[in-house]
């Protein structure tokens, strides 16, 4: 006889009906606010007014659009790399601290996360614009005689996006570093590993799952990021999300917007599939 599958939480077991009831509100929102609009957009891109792939072809044929697609992928990769480089040392520090020091570091990571992205992006404008803080300091020190352009470059976009997305890298890294028992490091040392070798041979490989999920998170968020590139990058550094917004609100070209969304979605799905494969491999590494 087959038992119905049951869901257990906090010592209670829920029947399939109860499980469904508990997840229903979320499923409903997911269906109405996410799945349905995406399907409508994709239908627009493929079947309106007649079945066609022209909208997709247009992205890859028009140099301007292709450039935006490639720039989006490149910026996402650059943001991911810099977030990893900046986030790893901090996550490592957090994993090795206890008490108020850890609380302080956690607050430093989480407080910005609780602040609106818009606010954090405007902070960069305050710093970098022509009469912003940095230009005032430079001219005040008589290092420059006219304001220099700091905004609207790819570097600025990467810097600001890295700042905004850094917590999404640090938190999974911290969790995976924290889960490594201190005995591993001690065993490596007593067996003759220098501190650097112990890190390279033991800690680094064991923190890779955290690094992978941090990278995936930051990369995916970067691909669809809107506010920061739009404000800090301006029209010169346009990314895909800005392009979608332009097509929808200014040009009312829903089919083409749908094609961009479809392309982005395909990229994301491929990446998630690759990531899943990597994490599955990681299961062999798991502790008994």
């Amino acid at each position: 006889m087959k038992r119905p599958s049951r869901f257990t939480l906090g010592g209670r077991t829920y029947s399939p009906a109860a499980s469904l009831a508990l997840t229903a509100p979320f499923l409903l929102i997911l269906l109405l606010a996410f799945l349905l609009p995406i399907l409508v957009l994709l239908r627009e891109s493929l079947f309106v007014p007649v079945p066609t792939l022209a909208n997709y072809a247009r992205i890859f044929e028009q140099p301007a659009y292709l450039r935006i697609l490639l720039r989006t992928l490149r910026i996402a990769a650059e943001v991911t790399a810099s977030a990893l480089l900046l986030g790893y040392p901090l996550a490592w520090l957090m994993a090795n601290r206890r008490g108020w020091r850890l609380a302080l570091l956690l607050a430093a990571v989480l407080l910005p996360l609780w602040t609106s992205v818009l606010v954090r992006t405007y902070a960069w404008l305050v710093l970098l614009q022509r009469d912003g803080v940095i230009n005032q300091v430079l001219s005040g020190l008589r290092l420059t005689n006219k304001p220099i352009g700091l905004l609207y470059t790819e570097g600025t976009v990467v810097m600001a996006m890295t700042h905004v997305l850094l917590p999404f890298m640090i938190l999974p890294l911290y969790a995976s570093l924290r889960a490594i028992p201190a005995e591993y490091g001690r065993a490596a040392q007593v067996l003759g590993a220098s501190d650097a070798a112990a890190f390279r041979e033991i800690i680094l490989p064991l923190s890779l799952p955290g690094a992978a999920s941090g990278c995936l998170m930051v990369f995916l968020l970067s691909l669809g990021f809107f506010v920061t590139p739009a404000l800090v990058g301006g029209p010169q550094q346009k990314m895909l999300a800005t392009l979608v917004q332009q097509q929808v609100t200014e040009l009312l070209n829903w089919p083409f917007a749908g094609a961009i969304v479809g392309t982005l979605l395909a990229v994301v799905l491929v990446l998630v599939a690759i990531f899943n494969r990597l994490v599955r491999l990681d299961r062999f590494v798991g502790q008994s």
Binding site: R186, Q189, V190, G192, A193, V285
Partner: protein
């Protein structure tokens, strides 16, 4: 044969905040000895081991290994082997890679380290499991791999931090013998931390008993059992009946004296140390109490059968005493008399 090294610990003190974990401990461990640090949790045994390994630096005192002062040397420069309680096989490496790891850190080339890792795994009878992941092995197999990894570079000293405490009883006893044989074959010095007195007595040439950071006694297993130096050792090693008593006059260490027991009876005992007149504690092992027709009066309250032995609970004028019999003895009547030889009862400060 690896050349074994001696360990010389002098006036070792380690404090954690206001707690003195190790309080002026002296230990001299000759090369090639199997030495056990025995004590309850919080006795300082692990702190001493961690100081030898280099994970804790002492507040004062010194540690010499093979004549070299290693007191403040980082662990990787001490060239010691170590087996931990658990969680120390690297989960992302195969068993063979784990065992070869210390050789890799010593710059041994790949072919040599694979060969030596295979040999070390064969020594612990796991020759065929080199390609597995640690998570695919049982607890006992994992500890054997940890052992192979700790001896593969032939360290002169092997430190073991309760390596068998996570294993079940049968496996533990099997591993105890295996480690002892390994030590006999390889000849290295072993410092073994345990809270299990049977384990310490079974395995070690000499045992040091610690309590509250202080050294209580160092000696062979037999000396610890037969002549415990303190009441703590008498109670911690094996089973002991304690009986409060009174001394009429001061007594020198080792002297035989008659004391007045709680309850009014008199009995003879040996003073474990010099004692003043007044209250004292008498300790006598359950198997050293003899029942008969003469002596103190007792009543058998309970008999506990345990296969190889039977334990009686004897109600006396003082505390209840445990008396141990072999399996063939005829159980005494409920009203009985008992006595002990003076050298089997030891007196300690109250």
């Amino acid at each position: 044969m690896s050349s074994a090294a001696s360990i010389d610990i002098s006036r070792l003190v380690k404090r954690f905040g206001t707690v003195t974990a190790v309080d002026a401990v002296d230990l001299e461990i000759p090369a090639g000895e199997f030495f056990a640090l025995l004590g309850p949790s919080g006795s300082g045994k692990t702190t001493i081991l961690m100081s030898i390994a280099g994970f804790d630096f002492p507040d004062s005192g010194s540690i010499h290994v093979g004549g070299r002062d290693v007191t403040f040397l980082p662990p990787q420069q001490r060239d010691l082997g170590m087996v931990f309680q658990r969680y120390t096989l690297f989960p992302h490496m195969s068993v063979a890679e784990n065992v070869a790891f210390p050789l890799k850190m010593r710059g041994v080339n790949r072919a040599d380290r694979e060969k030596r890792a295979r040999e070390a795994l064969a020594t612990v009878r796991l020759g065929e499991l080199g390609d597995r992941r640690p998570a695919q092995l049982s607890g006992g197999q994992q500890q054997r791999v940890a052992l192979a990894r700790a001896i593969v570079y032939r360290p002169p000293v092997l430190l073991m931090d309760e390596p068998l405490s996570a294993l079940d009883k049968n496996l533990r006893e099997e591993m105890q013998l295996e480690i002892k044989h390994l030590q006999r074959d390889l000849g290295m010095t072993i410092v073994f931390v345990t809270h299990d007195q049977t384990e310490a007595l079974t395995m070690a040439d000499r045992v040091s008993v610690l309590d509250g950071g202080k050294l209580q006694q160092i000696g062979s297993p037999r000396a610890l059992y037969e002549q415990p130096a303190t009441a703590f050792v008498a109670g911690f090693i094996g089973e002991t009946n304690f009986w409060n008593c009174t001394l009429a006059q001061p007594v020198a260490a080792g002297a035989e004296v008659t004391v007045t027991l709680d309850g009014g009876d008199e009995a003879a005992a040996i003073a474990a140390c010099a004692l003043p007149a007044g209250p004292a504690r008498l300790a006598v092992r359950p198997e050293r109490i003899r029942l008969g027709t003469a002596g103190l009066a007792g009543m058998v309250a309970e008999a506990i059968y345990a296969g190889t032995s039977t334990t009686l609970i004897l109600r006396t004028a003082g505390p209840d005493l445990r008396v141990r019999f072999g399996p063939v003895d005829v159980l005494p009547a409920s009203q009985t008399a008992f006595t002990w030889a003076p050298q089997d009862a030891r007196l300690y400060p109250a």
